[in-house]
């Protein structure tokens, strides 16, 4: 092997290793995986047997604010006593419903404190479907673990599961650039103070 070829080989090795690290190792190391406190099936809750719809739990308040994840009192409406014998069901009743303790759900879509996001304007006025930002979450059998950025504490759903961070259409993340792109496309005000009050 000539000296030139050896150098090229080393160059390629460095290139490949760095790219593998940048695309695979760093994302794997950057995000810690945290399990939800309880198992939960959206499919079971929205099946024809229960007759429930998304809005029963994730509704807008009378003031237009988004109620977010339901309180334990909502769960208690059906789960005052255990329905079935699954381990999660028994834990739900014994550890949360009976003591009246809220379930410390981990929120995939938690935005930073300095971002103001009114759900009512986006879902009612702009008629953006929930799935556009949150994904098809309502059809999941189980709750996936929360992938939390070790540096920032943000959920990976904010940056998006595509580590490249490239904005797609429709967006698969909840970054500021996604918000700005959508606002510009729709001709909506996109000044700093629109979201950062």
């Amino acid at each position: 092997m000539t000296r030139r070829r050896t150098t090229i080989l080393f160059f390629i090795i460095g290139l490949v290793v760095a790219m593998l690290a940048g695309w695979i190792a760093v994302p794997a190391a950057l995000y810690e995986s945290i399990e939800q406190p309880l198992g939960f099936s959206h499919v079971v809750h929205t099946s024809d047997d229960t007759g429930m719809v998304c809005d029963d739990c994730h509704h807008l308040t009378s003031e237009g604010g988004f109620a977010g994840i339901p309180k334990i009192a909502v769960c208690e409406g059906c789960h005052a006593e255990a329905i079935g014998t699954s381990k999660d069901e028994l834990r739900l009743v014994e550890e949360y419903v009976k003591p009246g303790r809220e379930i410390p759900w981990l929120v995939y879509a938690r935005q930073p404190d300095n971002a103001f996001f009114p759900h009512v304007r986006h879902t009612r006025l702009a008629k953006i479907p929930c799935e556009q930002c949150h994904g098809d979450h309502g059809k999941t059998e189980t709750l996936r673990p929360l992938k939390r950025n070790r540096f920032t504490g943000y959920s990976r759903d904010i940056w998006g599961h595509d580590f490249s961070g490239i904005t797609t259409s429709p967006p698969n993340s909840m970054k500021m650039s996604d918000c700005v792109d959508c606002h510009r496309k729709r001709g909506v005000r996109d000044s700093c103070l629109a979201c950062h009050k």
């Binding site: 000296r3 050896t6 150098t7 090229i8 080989l9 080393f10 160059f11 390629i12 090795i13 460095g14 290139l15 490949v16 290793v17 760095a18 790219m19 690290a21 940048g22 695309w23 760093v26 950057l30 003031e63 604010g65 930073p112 404190d113 950025n149 540096f151 920032t152 504490g153 943000y154 940056w159 580590f163 490249s164 961070g165």
Partner: protein, 721 residues
């Protein structure tokens, strides 16, 4: 064949690695994450997480007492809104009220007791040591002086807390001193009436004309409800507003008629208007002839005003005679309200100007008639435990100079700033001490000998007071919407510790008043959550009423009928009568003042300069000049040219007491020979602790014998850098 790694291979590896890394998102994502990470360090303040709650309360930042709807997250307020339909504020909240919750976190907040040592330096001391120091000074003041040597300065002197102050002072032979506030001139009118006079209010809502002598009527004076009416937004007929003011204020620009009066000539104009009312017979001769005790006779009011012909008044005030006649006739055409205004920074008019202005109300028969000055029902006095008599309540101007040896200042804001020189005049020159109970360093209090940190209005329960324009008594509470910090103290608690006496708690006092109101069975209670009022008789027990008040409700009394008693158009005070007769002997004429420079300090209604601004407002005002602060002086281009100044120049304004450096702002609407400087918001109000003597506009006025500082002779000099 041997394989060896050379330096070049290693460089190739590094180069490939660098390019490979650059072709991956890792470095760019890392930059983003590190940027976010630096914003999330543990010592950075974080927004609270927790349940979202909505509660109703009242704003305690000024006497207007606007109703507030406060949205809290995790126990901390995150947004404030007005309450539609509120009897006093009608949904209005000023910019200060909207941002007032931030004051709790203001950088200039006092977080520990401080005392000025013998070396003149301020240092922190423990709370118990501060109380001991106060007790020692109290003993010294009592042993060294007689009646009135101990005083409490109270900017809202009609609260239940004030009643407890008076009881405490009664046992010490002290005096309860009313601070500067916008409703103070009403007492001048009360002093013109004979006999027992109830509390009075201005019925702006039904007035046909509002004659404002420099009052900020369109900038938030009185209640928000009145402001809505005066702007014609309430659906009712808007009163005709005549603004009599030298400064081109926002009220002056927005009024129906602005009379740009020569500085300090308000008395002359008021008597000139009276001259037209009298000479043209624009008053009820039978009623006024019967009730006015000093209209006729030698040295009487008729003789006084006869000297103020329109031509003479025009020469002195700079307002043409035809306009003066037009205003007088408009004024006499129906119920009118006269407001001898207290400027939030420029202070009150002179006593004779206030008297002359209110004589117009009396002459027009406006006292006791709807749309003029109406009486509020008198609430029954609440008896406090203890045998001591209540101490007298006096206006600050009536306190003899040099008489106070220990002045305790209640920290609540009255909406008006006060010059340092005025306060110092009242103190004993050698032994006078000031103790301030305040959450912040307030203007005249920044030289206090002892400072005890108290709560902000959003952290403690108190009463709101009754706005100047309210025709009826009311009771609303400033229900805390955030927790008071551990280092803050309640003034009544401090007083009870100092004298080891049983001073009631503020909640007990407020509950007593609520119970008394319930027992009286009068008036109605506004429910902010429903936006409607219910008669008090619907509240079965006193506990129900108390609960409603704690939920942000407002009790309003029923209106009273009031017949104007006999009165003196020149007041009962011989000194004021004498000054009225000598007004024309003063040299203030339109020709005279035009060639001299006078400083007219002023204050913004929502940023008067006696306290800090919320940081968001401070930033806004700095960057936009929405409120010119104390760093700017406005002057007309002609005067500036005569003095050799241009827009943006630095100038030093000097008075007999000191000087300030300002930036010149040219405004053609400013009168010749006048320079206007806002007393606040000052640099200190932005959280800058470098407050030096002689460096603040409120240190410049040398209050005259009448405790006024609206017009101050001054010089404007070039700043040599």
């Amino acid at each position: 064949m041997g394989f060896s790694v050379k330096r070049r291979d290693f460089l190739g590896l590094i180069g490939g690695g660098a390019i490979g890394a650059a072709l991956s998102p890792a470095p760019w994502k890392s930059l983003d994450d590190v940027a976010i990470w630096t914003q999330n360090w543990s010592w950075k303040p974080r927004l609270p997480r927790g349940p979202v709650e909505v509660a109703f309360t009242h704003c305690g930042l000024c006497p207007a007492g606007c109703g507030l709807k406060v949205r809290s997250v995790g126990g901390s307020p995150v947004s404030v809104h007005g309450v539609p339909g509120h009897p006093l504020s009608a949904g209005f909240v000023c910019a200060l009220g909207l941002a007032g919750r931030y004051l709790s976190y203001h950088p200039s907040r006092i977080v520990e007791p401080t005392v000025v040592g013998t070396d003149g330096q301020r240092r922190g001391i423990p709370f118990k040591a501060a109380v001991r120091q106060l007790g020692k000074w109290l003993d010294e003041a009592r042993s060294g002086g007689g009646h009135g040597s101990v005083a409490i300065l109270d900017n809202r002197p009609d609260r239940m807390r004030s009643l407890a102050y008076r009881k405490w002072l009664g046992a010490l032979d002290g005096v309860h001193v009313k601070g500067l506030r916008e409703d103070a001139p009403i007492n001048r009118l009360r002093a013109m009436l004979d006999g027992q006079v109830p509390e009075l209010g201005l019925d702006i809502a039904r007035a046909r004309t509002v004659l404002s002598f420099g009052a900020p009527v369109l900038e938030g004076l009185g209640s928000g409800e009145a402001g809505s009416r005066l702007r014609g937004r309430s659906g009712t007929e808007k009163p005709y507003i005549v603004q009599i003011e030298t400064r081109p204020s926002r009220t002056a620009h927005s009024a129906d008629l602005w009379l740009r009066i020569a500085p300090g000539t308000e008395t002359v104009l008021a008597l000139g208007l009276a001259n037209i009312l009298v000479s043209e017979g624009l008053y009820d001769k039978e009623i006024i002839g019967r009730t006015a005790l000093d209209l006729d006779g030698p040295g009487g009011y008729r003789e006084l005003v006869a000297r103020f012909s329109p031509k003479q008044v025009a020469r002195i005030t700079g307002i043409d005679a035809a306009t003066i006649k037009k205003v007088a006739r408009r004024f006499a055409s129906g119920p009118a309200v006269v407001i001898p205004g207290v400027d939030p920074g420029g202070g009150p008019l002179s006593p004779e100007a206030q008297t002359a202005a209110f004589s117009l109300s009396l002459l027009n028969g406006d006292v006791g008639r709807p749309g003029g000055v109406v009486a509020r029902r008198v609430s029954e006095t609440i008896q406090l435990p203890g045998t001591a008599q209540l101490a007298n309540t006096v206006e600050l101007a009536d306190v003899p100079d040099g008489s106070i040896r220990l002045l305790i200042a209640d920290g609540i804001a009255g909406g008006c700033a006060m010059p340092t020189s005025l306060l110092k005049r009242k103190l004993n020159p050698s032994e006078g001490r000031v103790v301030s109970l305040s959450p912040f360093e307030r203007s005249a209090m920044h030289e206090a000998d002892l400072v005890l940190p108290s709560t902000t209005p959003f952290e403690s329960i108190d009463e709101t007071g009754v706005p100047i324009d309210s025709p009826v008594d009311s009771m609303g509470l400033t229900v805390p919407s955030m927790r008071a910090p551990d280092y803050s103290v309640d003034s009544l608690h401090v007083l009870s510790m100092v004298t080891k006496s049983n001073v009631p708690k503020i909640t007990e006092l407020l509950r007593s008043r609520s119970d008394r109101i319930h027992a009286g069975g009068r008036g109605s209670v506004f429910d902010p959550s429903k936006g409607e009022s219910a008669p008090i008789t619907e509240f079965k027990t006193a506990g129900h009423l108390w609960r409603a008040l704690l939920d942000g409700g407002l009790w309003t009394d029923s209106s009273a009928t009031f017949t104007c008693p006999p009165f003196r158009l020149m007041g009962a005070d011989a000194a004021i009568r004498d000054r009225l007769h000598k007004v024309l002997e003063q040299p203030s004429t339109a020709d005279g003042w035009a060639h001299e420079l006078v400083l007219m300090p002023f204050g913004w209604r929502d940023a008067p300069g006696d306290g800090p601004l919320p940081p968001v407002m401070a930033k806004l005002f700095r960057e936009t000049r929405l409120r010119l602060d104390s760093r700017f002086a406005t002057i007309c281009p002609g005067t500036a040219k005569d003095l050799g100044f241009a827009e943006g120049d630095k100038a030093s304004i000097k008075t007999s007491l000191g000087s300030i450096t300002v930036e010149v702002v040219l405004d053609p609407a400013v009168a010749n020979g006048v320079v206007h400087v806002a007393v606040g918001p000052s640099t200190g109000a932005f959280g800058d602790a470098t407050r030096e003597k002689g460096d603040q506009p409120l240190d410049l006025p040398s209050c005259k014998n009448d405790d006024c500082w609206r017009v101050i002779p001054a010089k404007m000099l070039e700043v040599v850098s």
